[in-house]
């Protein structure tokens, strides 16, 4: 029984990586977007889901990755070698932000992260080396979409694998303890700040990598594209709709989210109502199933497997 999800995941991963062999360019583009969404959602979930620290400022890391890649490429570095520096800068920035911000708890942390995200956006659109609000273009050169696709797909598979590995590790257990009761965790000797910083840095680096690939794919970045409200929404909404704190939830949420995005963009009547749909989804999830689609599925499964009502004696015995 335990092996089944693992096998399914492996088949899915192999399928995604081999997709360029049998999918046409248009469909491949959609899968690219899906992989991108999976990375953002699963990476965000490491801090937001496993450790319960909901951040609304992740577009900052995406932006750092994208801008590092373009700026270094403009300085003559091969785009491939700009990925790691972007991830490192984002991780360092996440620690810099996290050191003060993790002194805050729950919603106060969330508010602080809105401030950080906004500040980064404002700075990127007003200082000169980022090209201001008109943005930056990648240097002209050969660009291979299939290569970019493979990198994005591999990163998506790796991100999901990393988050699965986290749940099984001591690191993941520490994050879970922090989420459940930070004071109790501290009392048991879990250095909560250290673990939160670690989770923040790990997820920031993954998001920055996705941001770098995003910049290479579109060849052009601007504050209005990398700090787009829709993108920062996607980062948070997909894992919440799918189910925070699980490995499958963010992936499921990303699938729902990208499918919705593609469908919405292709139907003109719906294009103008995406905020309504996302907002409505968020409201519904918060009111009726805060554990998201995964929680819903578990509830339904439990109802199917278990008899609905136990006789009183059996209930007492159990």
């Amino acid at each position: 029984m335990k092996r089944l999800p693992l096998a399914a995941a492996a088949v899915l991963a192999a399928f995604t990586l081999a997709a360029p062999l049998f999918l046409e360019r248009g469909t491949l583009n959609d899968v690219w977007s899906l992989a991108f969404a999976v990375i953002l959602a699963s990476a965000w979930n490491i801090l937001g889901g496993f450790a319960g620290q909901v951040s609304l400022g992740y577009s900052a890391f995406l932006g750092i990755g994208a801008y590092t890649t373009v700026l270094l490429s403009l300085a003559g570095v091969n785009p491939f070698w700009t990925l790691a520096p972007g991830a490192v800068v984002a991780a360092l920035f996440s620690v810099l932000i996290g050191l003060p911000a993790f002194r805050l708890r729950g919603p106060y942390f969330t508010i602080a992260t809105i401030g950080v995200g906004e500040a980064v956006r404002v700075v990127a659109s007003s200082v000169s080396f980022t090209g201001g609000s008109s943005g930056l273009r990648m240097p002209a050169g050969s660009f291979d979409f299939t290569l970019n696709y493979e990198a994005m797909a591999a990163l998506a598979v790796a991100t999901v694998a990393i988050s699965a590995a986290v749940t099984r590790s001591a690191f993941g257990h520490a994050l879970a303890a922090i989420k459940q009761d930070i004071d109790a965790a501290e009392a048991l000797g879990v250095g909560s700040t250290r673990f939160k910083l670690g989770a923040h840095a790990l997820s920031a680096a993954l998001v920055a990598l996705a941001g770098s690939l995003y910049a290479i794919n579109f060849q052009y970045i601007a504050p209005s594209s990398v700090f787009d409200f829709r993108l920062s929404l996607a980062i948070v909404l997909a894992p919440i709709v799918g189910g925070v704190g699980t490995v499958a939830g963010p992936v499921l949420g990303a699938v729902v989210f990208s499918t919705l995005q593609i469908k919405l963009l292709s139907v003109p009547a719906l294009r103008d109502s995406y905020l309504f749909i996302y907002g409505g989804l968020l409201i519904l999830v918060m009111l009726y199933e805060p554990k998201g689609l995964v929680g819903l599925a578990r509830r339904l499964l439990a109802r199917v497997r278990r008899p609905p009502v136990l006789p009183p004696e059996a209930a007492r015995a159990a």
């Binding site: 319960g52 919603p107 508010i111 809105i114 950080v116 500040a119 700075v123 919440i240 996302y278 907002g279």
Partner: protein, 299 residues
Amino acid sequence: MQDIAGVLVNTVISAALYATMAYGLAVIYGVMRIINLAHAGLMMLGAYATFALFTRFALDPFLSLLVVGPLFYLFGVVLYRLVVRRLPRSGATPSMESLLLLFGVWLVLQNFAYAVWGGDTQSILTAYTMKSVAVFGVRVGVPSLFVFLGSIVSLVFLNVVLKATFLGRAIRAVTQNRDAALLAGVDADRISATAFGLGTAFAGVAGGMLSSLYAFTPDFGRSFLLKAFCIIVLGGMESVTGVAAGAFVLAFLENALGAWTTLPTSLEDAASFTLLFVALVVFPQGLPGLAARLRTALR
């Protein structure tokens, strides 16, 4: 270079507006321990409501506040009854669910504005929009002056409600200690609805006043939301005088930066976000907490 009088006059004017903006958040936070992310959307909607009354009925944007206020009060009560009440009650600290739920409400409001008014930038132009008068030798735009007066009226109104009516006493009682208020026979659910209505009304009025000073789109309000957060964090989250002090500090910082530094205006907003961050981290109890700490340190 601008003289001190100029900075001070402008500070007082923006501080009054900021306080109006922040009280809406503070009332809701105080009674329900909910951080109302939809505040930004409500301010945006207030701006559009004022705009609609102005274009449709040629109603002066400041007179229309008398319509917008009660209308938004009702809207707030309905929003509370339909959505917010269904949430599990927040404990001592606000729940993540309430924050995200109201984030969803904000998105829906934004979409509503896009659907009704489209995404174009709108602004309200009246006969006095471009006029200015001298206050203590400082040129001040007439709309800013009206905004100042509107804010003072709203703040006095709120103060009278909170201090002199049974309802206000009940609101303050629930803010101070919900359980004790319940024991004393206060209907906390009704008070919550009223507080949510009041907070919504203040957001609408603040938005209506902002529409006379700034151009707006359905995405309007995010930076003002952060400013309002900054103020209630500085003000210690639930103290009335604290909010006023917080509004003053933020307004002074912005005006001083604008007058005495060469910081580009686009970066001035970043100042309030930075202040928010610093305030949250360095003195989470706000200015009153800081003052108390200083007193104990000096003793």
